[in-house]
Symmetry: D2
Subunit: 136 residues, 4 copies
């Protein structure tokens, strides 16, 4: 199954008084992961939104393994683990520069129109995502 | 089981370009919920940290039901659903001013010392939390 | 000149690895200050936006005097220091529970329509704001 | 005077309900700018902190010219405009992919020890920064 890697560096603003990244920011990093996943699949998320296809988050979870520190190099590895006409699920692994696991989790989404009403995704988008996620 | 309610108002900074609160901010609201829970139990979290007892997040999940908008009045209802000497679990319900569910979720925590090493919580803290969570 | 006070508590998420509030969050606190100012003046900002009057930030500055810590009680005191048909300026003082200055600053704004184009504010809004800001 | 450019992409989390980047996030982008400036000068900021030299923000200002949108490519150009043994000032220009100005501003800093007390920076650090900022 296709894995797309996004790179980022920990921002000072993302740390908290424990000296590590505040746990809530991992959901932002997951968002960066799926943004890069969609871009790599040839379907930039911003273009999908502009065409009237919104992808709402309906569930998110994250398990924390190890703290990340200011200026650390971080990799977010994203996979598209489920794909249906009504929604999809991404899974994420966040690792540091030495490939040690920092956190992992998943987000569940539904497709919606610009008013937030659930809709089915167009067949060509589903096919493009399916082809991409199954390619090595 | 004891429920503690925290009140907040949606900040402009918390909205995203969909016009609703960005999903990642709910983890911050959960944090406000458990801060107020600990204060109501007579154990302000900041004092626990200052005494050398840190409470690390090891897992978080959130299910999203309905979007919240700028300036909405929000209530976060927190319960302490599990309590052991090594850690604890909180559950949260986030509702709007009309009591409609916006999101719910949970966070799992371990007790640690100031260096991040797991430790057991002192008996008097566990007893105080247990007494509080079982009081109506 | 009328001063409106907003109360808040420092969130864990707002601290950084120095142990104090990350400096960027003061702009969010200023936003809370002017939200409460407009509400106190009888002109909730959300209602202004819904009526087609947007207030864009064109300039912000902040001087930092003293760090704020997790769970501190904070007061944001806001004044409307300039008011014209095309825009307005707010000034802010942020103090702790002992009234010690933490930061102060200002934000400059222009009125705009929902597409972001500059416009003049309606006379009744300008008059209501003028009356309010000059009341003791 | 030396200019260091940092590249970033607008995160969904950074937008607000106006559809553009929330104005407070520019201070975070400035922080990314000066982090990359110090790294380019051979003095990674994290290493300075670890050696006991902290750089506190004492003043920040930002003027906003044009909104940035989700997934836009952004460049932050940073210059070190003032350098003394007790503190320093950075100036920033934020532009989009077409080099159009989005915002500009500055931050003023003092050197401090790890307890937050003002101190002078070591001569070798001041000399390295001075050499770097004056190099074309």
């Amino acid at each position: 199954m296709r894995v797309v890697e996004a790179l980022l560096r920990v921002r000072y603003a993302e740390t908290d008084r424990m000296g590590v990244v505040y746990h809530g920011h991992y959901l932002v990093w997951f968002e960066i992961g799926r943004t890069e996943y969609c871009r790599a699949a040839g379907l930039p998320y911003r273009k999908m939104e502009e065409s009237g296809l919104w992808i709402l988050v309906t569930r998110a979870d994250c398990t924390y393994r190890r703290g990340a520190r200011y200026d650390d190099s971080i990799r977010v590895r994203s996979r598209l683990t489920e794909l249906q006409s009504r929604g999809l699920t991404f899974a994420y692994d966040v690792v540091d520069a030495e490939d040690r696991p920092l956190a992992d989790g998943s987000t569940r989404h539904v497709f919606a129109d610009s008013s937030g009403k659930p809709r089915r995704a167009p067949a060509e988008i589903l096919e493009a995502l399916e082809r991409f996620r199954m390619s090595a």
